[in-house]
């Protein structure tokens, strides 16, 4: 196989990896935000992404709404959905010392949504076909599919938007403060419910963007969500929890690993390799790869 290897091919693999990885990255940012204030891994994140991909699919097939135009509907829907998830499902459990309850709710939600999706949309893969689905740019002989490029752009823009929100707004600061020390946050007047709901809203808001990215790029089915959540979790472990850019970089790194592994070994190996990397990183750098040693304490 190696005789086919050329510089152009390597570049292509790297580009594929980056384009793949950004979707994992924004899913991981959502996980990171929710983990920050709630101290749980929101395992239903991937399934929610797929659910929102189906919403995008429905808007497209039933009403002819262009997937990118549907952003203006899907993003507000997902922000509300996030806040709704918190208030309806997690509000009581979040106050408990034992975080396992919240984690179980997330798992329950994941299976519920997964099964609902199977009932509504069947287990057959769906995909969105538009005029630009197979559009590919070829700068310097490297293939860059249009939909993946847009997904990359959406990911970078939304990550920057979230970062700006966390830095510049008072409620964003409150989310960061609560992620660091919830008791201290309540002592300055921050309501845990408020910051938890905001973290959820933004986390699921990002899931909406990822959902549109997925819907325009891959065929998807209901069970794909769980795998997606695992990939986001690996990205989070690579990037370090509580670090927006780290999560995005972790996703891109995972995309690169998968892209290279599936070329040099085989598609089947790529998942095994990613889970192995997940474990190795957790064993040797549990704080993540992109967290400076200074922040360890």
């Amino acid at each position: 196989m190696l005789e086919y290897l050329s510089f152009g091919l390597i570049i292509q693999l790297l580009v594929n990896g980056i384009l793949f990885g950004t979707m994992y990255g924004i899913a991981a940012i959502g996980l990171s935000l929710i983990f920050g204030t709630m101290r749980i891994i929101f395992l239903a994140q991937g399934t929610t992404i797929i659910f929102l991909a189906y919403i995008c699919y429905w808007l497209f097939t039933l009403f002819g709404v262009d997937p990118y135009l549907s952003l203006i509907l899907v993003v507000p829907i997902s922000l509300l959905l996030g806040a709704g998830f918190y208030h309806a499902l997690f509000k009581e459990a979040a106050a408990l010392e034992d975080k396992n309850i919240s984690l179980l709710i997330a798992v329950g939600l994941m299976f519920l949504v997964e099964n609902l999706m199977t009932v509504i949309w069947t287990a057959n893969p769906r995909s969105i076909l538009t005029t630009y689905t197979s559009l590919v740019f070829r700068p310097m002989g490297i293939n860059i599919p249009f939909t993946r490029l847009i997904a990359l752009l959406m990911a970078v823009l939304s990550a920057s938007g979230v970062l700006l929100f966390l830095k510049k707004t008072l409620i964003g600061m409150a989310v960061r403060a609560a992620s660091e020390d919830m008791v201290s946050a309540t002592l300055v007047g921050i309501s845990p419910h408020r910051v938890n709901a905001v973290a959820f809203a933004i986390g699921i808001g990002l899931a909406g963007i990822a959902g549109i990215g997925v819907a325009t790029i891959y065929p998807f089915d209901p069970v794909y969500g769980f795998i997606f959540a695992l990939k986001a979790l690996i990205s989070l472990a690579l990037g370090g929890i509580g670090n927006v850019y780290g999560a995005l970089l972790g996703g891109i790194l995972l995309g690169l690993i998968e892209s290279l592994a599936s070329f040099f070994l085989s598609g089947g190996w790529s998942d095994a390799i990613s889970y192995a990397v997940f474990l190795i990183v957790l064993m040797f750098r549990p704080e993540g790869l992109f967290v400076r040693a200074m922040l360890k304490t």
């Binding site: 008072l170 201290s184 002592l187």
Partner: protein
């Protein structure tokens, strides 16, 4: 009745099955400094945590301006005018000094006063202004304690509760912190002070209580307790009593 700003009546507080505070009653008058003394594990921190709503009492009442607050959550307690600087400061260390101060003025009541409060904090703690954009975690211990107090007064409290503000600080900073408490009190802030530095605390306190294994065993004016031979023996030690 009198001008009790804070009144605690017959308070029992439990950690699970373990009772930490037994039938504690005390009061803090408006405009005073009240010191809460006692050995480690005497229940001082638990008492502050219960007043600020982090913990809830099993029995008893906490009245602030005559109104009960034992059912309130911490974020509600700070909004009605009680700020708690917890033990160990608990700053948001990854946030900047200014961000910590901004969050200090988070309660809705205090947001419109942000500019004035910031000016007051800077005039009391000029060193913080110079460190504005630094991460709180990068400050020295003394500076962190100043920031913790500054963050608390951003909420314009009527009652400021300080838990061991001088713990682990160099003598120079200890002196500075006590001077600040004194200065704040002159700005009409009532102070409830938990301190291990008994001598210093009693010197500035109008009123003081001694807690022992969760019970109040002594109470009186700062000078009375300072002169009390038992207090001297138990908490101040030979070094001070000879002076």
């Amino acid at each position: 009745m009198e001008n009790h700003l804070l009144e605690v009546k017959g308070l029992d507080v439990l950690y699970g099955d373990v009772q930490a505070v037994w039938d504690v009653s005390l009061h803090v008058d408006e405009g005073t400094i009240v010191a809460l003394l006692g050995a480690n594990g005497a229940g001082k921190t638990t008492l502050l945590k219960t007043i600020s709503g982090i913990m809830h009492p099993k029995r008893g009442e906490i009245l602030f301006w005559g109104k009960p607050l034992s059912k309130l959550k911490p974020q509600e307690v700070v909004d009605i005018g009680i700020s708690h600087v917890p033990e160990g400061r608990r700053l948001f260390s990854k946030l900047t000094v200014l961000e910590n101060l901004k969050l200090g003025a988070y309660p809705p009541r205090t947001r419109p006063l942000f500019a004035q409060s910031l000016e007051r904090a800077y005039s009391l703690f000029p060193v913080l202004k110079a460190r504005n954009d630094q991460k709180a975690g990068s400050l020295s211990g003394g500076e962190q304690q100043m920031l913790a107090i500054a963050r608390a007064i951003m909420a314009c409290p009527n009652l400021l509760m300080l838990d061991e503000p001088s713990l682990g600080l160099s003598p120079l900073f200890v002196k500075a912190i006590f001077e600040l408490i004194y200065a704040l009190n002159h700005q009409k802030v009532t102070v409830l002070l938990v301190e291990q530095n008994v001598h210093q605390a009693l010197k500035i306190a109008h009123q003081a209580y001694v807690l022992k294994t969760g019970k109040i065993v002594m109470g009186g004016s700062g000078d009375e307790l300072l002169a009390d031979p038992e207090v001297q023996k138990a908490y101040i030690g030979e070094r001070w009593s000879k002076r």
